[in-house]
Symmetry: C2
């Protein structure tokens, strides 16, 4: 049996309500009363029961973060940023992995765990624009992360994908590259990281007057290292000439780099490479990898702020907001000639 407010109230000789007021930092309490309560809490080692508080107040102080997979460095780092931002606001974070699986991404939304969190940060990978309406029925406050769904019924925080990819491509063009591979395309995709980033790649080529060549566009399935490696193997096998690679994430860039190095290509002399995400690892590879930093900390901070605003104002439902973070091009050895 644990210590309850009752015990504290009894020891301090006050009522339940007064203890509650002290615990919740209510302003109007006589200093000496407050002190007596604080002492009683101290001597008894009282800790509020958060479950009871949650039941009564309707708030648990817990949010959930739904991401595809923690083993993916980008999401591990995103989770880290989210947990820091949440911690600063006194929130705990339950992480749920969806495995980028459509069925599971939907299941998690309906799952009963949703009943015990105040809000959800939702980073979908398999759902798309056509699923936006499925979010209408979600009553828990939610902030969307990522590029799969725009103009949904909820707040949305993401980076400027097209602009980032354009900047990456311009950077390669700026160091004299003309035959640039786009690694990580998804056929027919318009919305979504792949679609948006390919668009940025095209814009950069257009503005530089470089013709778009479909042989330089490498389509892959998932964005793991393996796929980056496989994609590069296909490029090499095709015999197409190239002198630069814009990979749509760092993992693929690293997989491709390994394949190129095995094939005897020198980076950046023969092929300059730039990735996306600025995962920690890019600082330590050989060569180190230039990349686009998507502003993970800003994403986490803004997402938490939006979520908390929704949580704290359950009545009002202002229209969904959209926040685009600033990105930053980080130049490292893979594009320094």
């Amino acid at each position: 049996m644990s210590i309850t407010m009752h015990d504290v109230a009894a020891l301090a000789g006050v009522s339940l309500k007064t203890v509650s007021n002290v615990v919740n930092d209510y302003p109007h309490i006589k200093p000496e009363t407050r002190q007596r309560v604080v002492d009683a809490i101290e001597t008894l080692g009282y800790r509020p029961n958060l479950t009871a508080r949650g039941l009564r107040s309707g708030r648990t102080g817990v949010i959930s973060l739904i991401i595809p997979d923690l083993r993916n460095a980008y999401f591990a780092e995103l989770a880290d940023s989210v947990m820091r931002a949440a911690d600063a606001k006194g929130l705990s974070v339950i992480i749920e992995q969806s495995g980028a699986d459509r069925a599971r991404e939907l299941e998690v939304l309906r799952g009963s765990r949703m009943q015990m969190v105040d809000g959800v940060l939702y980073s979908a990978l398999a759902l798309g624009e056509e699923d936006a309406h499925l979010l209408d029925s979600v009553t828990t406050p939610m902030v969307l992360l990522g590029e799969r769904i725009f103009h949904g019924p909820t707040d949305h925080v993401t980076m400027l994908n097209t602009e980032g990819a354009k900047a990456a491509t311009e950077h390669l063009i700026g160091i004299g590259r003309r035959r640039i591979i786009a690694l990580g395309a998804h056929e027919g995709e318009v919305i979504g990281s792949a679609g948006l980033r390919l668009e940025g790649y095209r814009q950069a080529l257009d503005e530089a007057g470089i013709p778009f060549d479909t042989r330089l566009v490498c389509e892959v399935g998932d964005w793991f290292r393996f796929e980056g490696a496989e994609g590069m193997r296909r490029i090499l096998a095709s015999g197409v000439a190239f002198d630069g690679v814009v990979a749509f994430n760092d993992s693929m860039a690293l997989g491709a780099m390994r394949v190129m190095q095995e094939a005897g290509l020198r980076i950046p002399q023969d092929v300059a490479v730039i990735g996306f995400d600025d995962i920690d690892e890019t600082r330590y590879t050989l060569p180190t990898l230039s990349t686009i930093n998507p502003g993970r900390e800003e994403i986490a901070e803004v997402a938490i702020r939006y979520l908390q605003e929704r949580i704290n104002n359950p009545g009002s439902t202002p229209p969904p907001r959209e926040h685009f973070t600033r990105f930053e091009l980080v130049q490292r050895e893979s594009t320094t000639v």
Copy 2:
């Protein structure tokens, strides 16, 4: 206002208890009654309120995982394994980062979040054997992970560190290496990953009749890539001859590999390298990295099982158990000559 059991009971024309029984899969319910309740749940879209259930039953179905830092690939992968094992048992996981900071590791133990979880998986990095008594006062069921505290008051799951390091060293000796660097030592440490692994390294040398040379022992602070790189720089600067490296984790091995490659050393021809942890990345570096797989999935599975046993039998307090997982040596290019 959300739908409660009351609403379901009213619609199905049964009592609260019956609804509760159906929801909790109680065995003895007339099939037709059950069906009526199920239908009512369906039409109303009822979801049990987990907070209320938690308050009443004393169990929330949430555990917390306390780890140093998700940005560390080993812990991200451990968290992934833990979440999968927990999910299979219907448990949710709150992750808390301690930053390998002693004060924070202790704070997290006393934190009020502990009041809302059924149990804790605790992976300390800064606490040590001398802090074991601090765990006595923790009433929440707990399973220790890692090597900092043995013979504490709680269950403990870890790998066979000494044996793993011994096997790694023997592997290098087996391919003809005699001057082997031990990368990642902590001066004076006996317990803890560094101490135990250094011991395994010594045992392997002893058994092979190779003299222990302190100039080959490289001490570092944290076990990040940066420290591995710095340690290797010091080794190279010292001018000591060597033909093998046993790194006490993969991150350091990769940092060291990069420095060696920059210095023109070929791996594995000039220096064979083996790490520890089998993080995903080791499969994709150039060369791929041989390593000791610590059996993360087994660690997660056993830890969750132990924890659940403690949670489900709050009365009985059998003595603390200790489980050592099997490790596996994974040979890759960095030790294949």
